[in-house]
Symmetry: C2
Subunit: 195 residues, 2 copies
Amino acid sequence: MRMSRQEAAKNRERVVNTASKMFREFGYDGIGIAGLMKASGLTNGAFYKQFESKEALIAEATAQAFADNATAWRKAVENAGGDALKAAEQWYLSEPHLNHRGLGCTLATLASEAPRHDEPVRRAFDEGIRTILELIADTGPRGDTSCDKNSEIRELCRLVGALSLARAVSDSGLAERILEANRGVKEFDKRQRKP
Amino acid sequence: MRMSRQEAAKNRERVVNTASKMFREFGYDGIGIAGLMKASGLTNGAFYKQFESKEALIAEATAQAFADNATAWRKAVENAGGDALKAAEQWYLSEPHLNHRGLGCTLATLASEAPRHDEPVRRAFDEGIRTILELIADTGPRGDTSCDKNSEIRELCRLVGALSLARAVSDSGLAERILEANRGVKEFDKRQRKP
DNA sequence: CTTGTAAAATTATAGTCATAATCCAAAAGT
DNA sequence: ACTTTTGGATTATGACTATAATTTTACAAG
């Protein structure tokens, strides 16, 4: 039953990848160590040789999930000819993304659980958010004129909210309305009050 | 230990109210029947005389949470002189709301857990969302010209996303940037593609 | 005033949870 | 070739889970 160092590292990686998907699908509390290890083809006994605790795995798996998301974003932007808004419409607000939470945006699935977890987990969210913001700022249709990323921040908030709400409702017509209302929008904003 | 019918009803109501707050604070999986009953001044034995199951309580408590939210929205809009945008800025995106999840918006805390629950729970989300949309449509600065509620939908998505992300991050400076970027924004939107 | 009903407490059950000790065998180090 | 190290399996732990049966007791209806 002993594996080579290389195979052990592969196993570890597989656990993190499985966790990054299952946490997104079932929530941090919705899947336990035993289920996670079984889904990775191992038994729970092997867990604590590789990870300090479940909380430590949560931190790692969350970072991995954000890395996957960054790749998905880049690919979607590429498919949209470099237009991040179009990528949002074609990928982020699509029905596949609506229905496959385990492979989708970590923010829409796990952000609201993050406040209950410790710093390493929440720092993964800091970095994940910053990465996505830079990604959509770099690929925006207008280049980088704004300097502060306020409009990118708003854009991301809107998308995360839209996907979360569309997934939450029971009425699929309402879900579609929520997605559709957020498609094809180019936001021109104005600050009111406070210069 | 036997209570009058009236007191029993009060107890039941108290359990629903406690649950509506604790679920928002700890998540549906983060608090159990025993903890919920203890926090309501009862023991777990009393639970199944009043509720069919935990899932049934989740549905009721979620509806109650949305009812509380509607009241909070109305009060915030009133305080903002009837301007829903201003109410969003002064209440929804405020630091008290950021730090008190148990009394805050149900969408920002529980929407991403809803897809894992059964229809009665998700129907509570349908109704909660519809109520809020009508509330901010009725009180908008421009009246009701748009007819479809697309811009209200986008507004709500943006707010929910902003609060979720601001709560998730570890860096409080980033949290403040997320909130601030979403304050004082009057959105003028344009549909691109598709008439 | 008695009696049946029902609310709440006590207690039980069977499952799952995170964590960990023990053991085995094969890889790594010498 | 021999010893040490270590990844994984097995098994155990004690706490916590949702659910439920039983018991107690006070109120409500007769």
